[in-house]
Symmetry: D2
């Protein structure tokens, strides 16, 4: 058996409509490539990405900071309420083969830092660019393409 | 959308053939009821339960103590390498609507304790019985039936 | 430099006056032996043990489940608000050379299980006795003596 | 009783001699202000800061990523081997009233992000400056002064 690729979509809850639309497209692309979408399971970017993935028949996993399942957005298939608070950001990154950051604030920054530390592919779609090793793009399709290409090369 | 029920199978790595067969039957029953199987993702009871679930076309999640995906048993569909060590036992329980303990040692005991603390249904199939609130059985079918019945009543 | 011994006192928040008095005596004994008292930082057994330790000029550490420092009992010198929920129980045990369980419910049971799994000395003072490897006593002095003796022999 | 202030010193293991000297001065200043030094407990910046704190009679806490006490640097008074891997970065920040970042790589960046998210004072001493809200300095004395001033104003 071969494990399906697991792609993280990270980003904040309080984001613009433009960012939400990007996240939904990214989620859809991930599902079309038959990868599993990993996220923080809450609203905003996480919900939009899960919604996009479900539109394309994908599978979604939400790793919540809280310990209650009811906080998950309605597009999460598998709810993991870690109960770990923000320490769950490290768990999210451990569960990903590659990561797409969309918008987002300091929580997203912590996750990008963990991704860089672990050495997994990460791309910034209108998100942080804290050093010149971070690849950036404005296109959701290119973001997904980039991460899959990097994973295949690894 | 309605979330699928998530059932935890907990138990040790070093167990007898008899325990492995019970775990495989439990995994199969869980999948036949369309529930998602949650476990620690390693060998022994975890692997046998995942194998049983996959035989019945089920979906399996492994929450590993380590941070590397390669440690998962081959029947895990979604690999979450938490990197949390034994603290991941608390995360496993948070991710379950009900729990079936099969064999197992002190790690299993910690998980049963977390399940009792959280108030989710738990049954012991040739595992710990640390107080008289723990329901026990020798039958894998009855174990799965019991947990589903308790979840529906909650 | 030699590190001071770190002794965990584990137990619940809702306990009888008798249990609180035992915890306070245990805390005092630990401080008199110049060991550092490790606990969950909340009320009940944890607060009584810290109070006893401070009476004897000891040093106390509270590893809270929440992320806010204000939840610590007033006798905690060093407040570590882990934010990990009950997963912090595993961190408490990792921080101990030996553990004394006093009264307590399922949280305490999870910690005793982690202590047994890790192989560090543990004694039960009117607490759980889930298998015949758990040494029990009714005396706070004997509890502390037992754990120190076991640590020295290790 | 009033709790002593807890100041985090964060930074990497592989750093220059100049960075180590800055860390040692920062540790000494923290101890002279009677604050408790919180860190990751390993080598490099963490060890230098602890060494500086001990020179001034301070108290040091090391929150290790691993589960074994033996990995702590020799200047750690209280060893908390969390066993959480990099998720312990979130615990470190939860345990601090303010944070001084010295040098460091992606792990340090994740901790600065958590500090900003939580809203506790943070200063960068030859470390990351990922947005214009991060105060920077080249002076260890000023770094410590800044963090204490911000804590008092909060």
């Amino acid at each position: 058996m071969t494990r399906r690729t697991q792609i993280g979509v990270i980003g904040g809850r309080q984001v613009s409509q433009e960012i939400l639309e990007l996240a939904q497209k990214v989620g859809k692309e991930i599902a079309q490539k038959r990868a599993i979408l990993i996220c923080g399971g809450l609203g905003g970017v996480m919900e939009a990405a899960c919604k996009g993935a479900k539109e394309a028949g994908g599978l979604t996993v939400g790793l919540l900071p809280v310990s209650s399942m009811t906080e998950a957005n309605p597009y999460v298939d598998i709810v993991i309420p870690t109960g770990l608070g923000v320490a769950r950001n490290a768990v999210i990154i451990n569960a990903c083969d590659g990561v797409i950051a969309i918008g987002g604030s300091y929580g997203t920054l912590s996750e990008m830092a963990f991704a860089r530390q672990k050495g997994i592919p990460v791309i910034s779609l209108k998100s942080w660019q804290f050093d010149n090793t971070i690849h950036t793009t404005e296109s959701p399709e290119e973001a997904v393409e980039f991460v899959f290409r990097q994973i295949q090369m690894a």
